[in-house]
């Protein structure tokens, strides 16, 4: 596939991700995922860095192999200059591409270099000046490769994406969750949780820093591990493990977490210990413990965050009624409401379950 005339395309290369197909998959309306052909990629990337990357790899007439890309496409409409088009539509396209990245990460574990940290490109094939590249600080990592990151590559399958939005694939459904949240209005708490989760993928962050980001996400969603109240809402300060267990018990299928009870116990004991040592030391043992716990911790956050997003959509659109059901004030913080709902469900799942679990047939993954 190559870019169509009359369109503005934003390329977000997913360095280090593996894609099992030569076809194009749809991630969301106007957002595709595919590996560009060599000509298309040469146009999009070609720079001194492309040359250096070509020289450093196995020589090939077509240049270095293109990576799988998220490509956001929109009509150029009335614009006859790429700068004017980007000024008008670039921020929206960037937001769309960022949500696509978050959807991939929320759907499955695995690593790719954040496209904005490496390079992204706007391309409008029908305009005289048709390219605008935005290099990031780690663009030249492409020359020597990302092996040093020592992370398991993200494995994307064409079956994870959609061929037709009328029958959305699982990643599209995860993206829909984010879209619903944006539509419902936003919350700082949810934004911090998403941001911290995304920053936990940091290419050049130590495991201890990446784990700290995950604990920040947990704080945003669940309040402190020993908190007695969130805002004005009283909570059971010994109930952290049970709340996590309840949250994990009702996450959608598809999670690799083995057992909600065991995971909650682990987080409450070893997770808590790691959190404390992150706050009070900077030693090698903390780093080693953080590295050992990282994937498990990230999976817990991934599961709870999907659920938190689901809850946020309800809370932001119907907070008066939910607050009444929970017997809390409607100006309570979203974290307080979420923690409260977990406490209620823990006692009896009942009719409030829809707030933390999608209805049948609407699973996000």
């Amino acid at each position: 596939m190559s870019a169509t005339p009359g369109t503005l395309n934003l390329y977000f290369p997913l360095w280090c991700a593996k894609f099992d197909s030569d076809e194009v998959g749809i991630l969301a309306p106007g957002v595709a995922c595919y590996v560009p052909n060599a000509d298309e990629w040469r146009t999009v990337q070609k720079t001194d860095v492309w040359m250096a990357q070509w020289r450093s790899g196995t020589p090939s007439a077509q240049g270095p192999p293109p990576p799988c890309c998220i490509v956001v496409v929109i009509d150029l409409d009335r614009f006859d200059s790429i700068h004017a088009a980007i000024n008008a539509m670039g921020p929206l396209m960037l937001a769309s591409a960022r949500d696509a990245v978050t959807a991939l990460r929320l759907f499955r574990a695995g690593w790719f270099l954040d496209p904005e940290q490496a390079m992204y490109t706007f391309y409008a094939p029908s305009l005289p000046i048709n390219l605008l590249r935005s290099p990031g600080p780690y663009r030249q990592t492409l020359i020597s490769g990302t092996d040093a990151a020592n992370r398991e590559a993200y494995k994307l399958a064409i079956s994870d994406l959609s061929q037709d939005l009328a029958a959305p694939g699982p990643i599209t459904r995860t993206w829909q969750l984010l879209a619903d949240y944006r539509q419902a209005g936003q919350s700082d708490s949810v934004d911090i949780a998403i941001e911290s989760f995304n920053r936990s993928y940091g290419y050049q962050l130590h495991a201890s820093s990446r784990a700290s980001n995950l604990f920040t996400a947990l704080d945003a969603m669940l309040g402190g591990m020993s908190a007695r109240r969130v805002g004005k809402v009283k909570i059971n300060f010994r109930g952290f493990a049970r709340r996590v267990e309840t949250a994990l018990r009702f996450v959608e299928s598809g999670s690799v977490l083995a057992d909600a009870h065991l995971e909650a116990l682990w987080l409450n004991a070893q997770g808590r210990q790691l959190r404390n040592s992150l706050a009070h030391s900077n030693g090698q043992s903390t780093e080693a413990n953080a590295a050992a716990a990282f994937d498990r911790l990230q999976e817990v956050v991934r599961c709870v965050l999907r659920q938190y997003l689901h809850f946020a959509v309800h809370w932001l659109t119907n907070r008066e009624e939910i607050a009444q059901q929970l017997k809390i004030s409607s100006d309570s913080q979203i974290t307080a409401a979420y923690v409260k709902i977990l406490e209620v469900i823990q006692r009896s799942a009942g009719e409030l379950l829809y707030l933390v679990q999608p209805a049948n047939g609407q699973k996000y993954s």
């Binding site: 290099p135 030249q140 941001e195 050049q204 700290s212 920040t216 020993s226 913080q333």
Partner: protein, 328 residues
Amino acid sequence: MTASIRRTLYAHLPGVRLDNADAPLAGGRITRLPFDDWARLESEFEFAQREYDNSQPTFWVWDRLTDDAEDSDRWVVKELTELHTAFLLDHRVPLLPSPLLSSCYIQHIPPPEYADTINFAVKRLIGPAERELVVYGDPLTYSYSAEHLAAVARRLQFLRDNKTWEFNDEISAAIRVLEETTRPDSWYGGDLVVTQVHGFVRCMAACEWLLLPDEVKTDITQTFGRRAATVINTSPERKQQYEQYFIELYRLRSHLIHGNASKIRSDPQFEEKLASGRVLLRYLIMSAIYVRNRLPAPSPLWQLLHDCTRDHNLENRLRTILADRPNL
């Protein structure tokens, strides 16, 4: 027998922009290295002079006499980490990425008697950003005058005198947060406001590590404000103002993290408050380092602050120590 070898370290300092061409710094000098000098150390980007000249990269150049068996990577990491921390603890709390992410070069200059047999070899320590920040510049730059650089040198001496390199406690964890939040991984890309909020939340967590033990479960906001104001150590009237300000700052952190900040966002001082989290962290780190070794038994800052509530002698002692704290 090992031979003495003079080594010259050229370390790129990402984001540092010099007001003047050259200045002494920490036993070496800080300079805008001309392209030709850089090209002699490099094997790549030989045609990138225009981009390099636009970027005006700053290098710290340091000569050192060593024996040839010394592990150069180790001393480079230590020296650059300390120097970088001294830059980060600037009053402006700049977002300067570590030199270890960019490019460093060690030029080996053998003594004259070996000059015919040993090459003037260059060891390249190329970090994950490779030459991007050298050739194409850093997205954020901070200007450094001679006074700024003199302050960096004083802070570096302060860090060395207090042996902070050997710390393994709340202070080192807090310095790690200060450093980690300067890495592009922590702030580059994404939504600007969300990124700022995230950085604020991380810095406030590190402030908490310095001020509060894990056991404090109630009255956290007030305790945080009171203790932060105690560390500022000012007149009683102003202390109350500071206390109130830090309480507000902690409350902002709580509102943001638990999702009830829509009103706060419209506060005209919202962005200034977000920046204050990092400023407070810098201040607490400097104070904690200073206090740590000036009491008979080194204790964490939060422990001292806690003990002060019951021991007025200690409180007075702490006040005296804080009053003597140098303004670095």
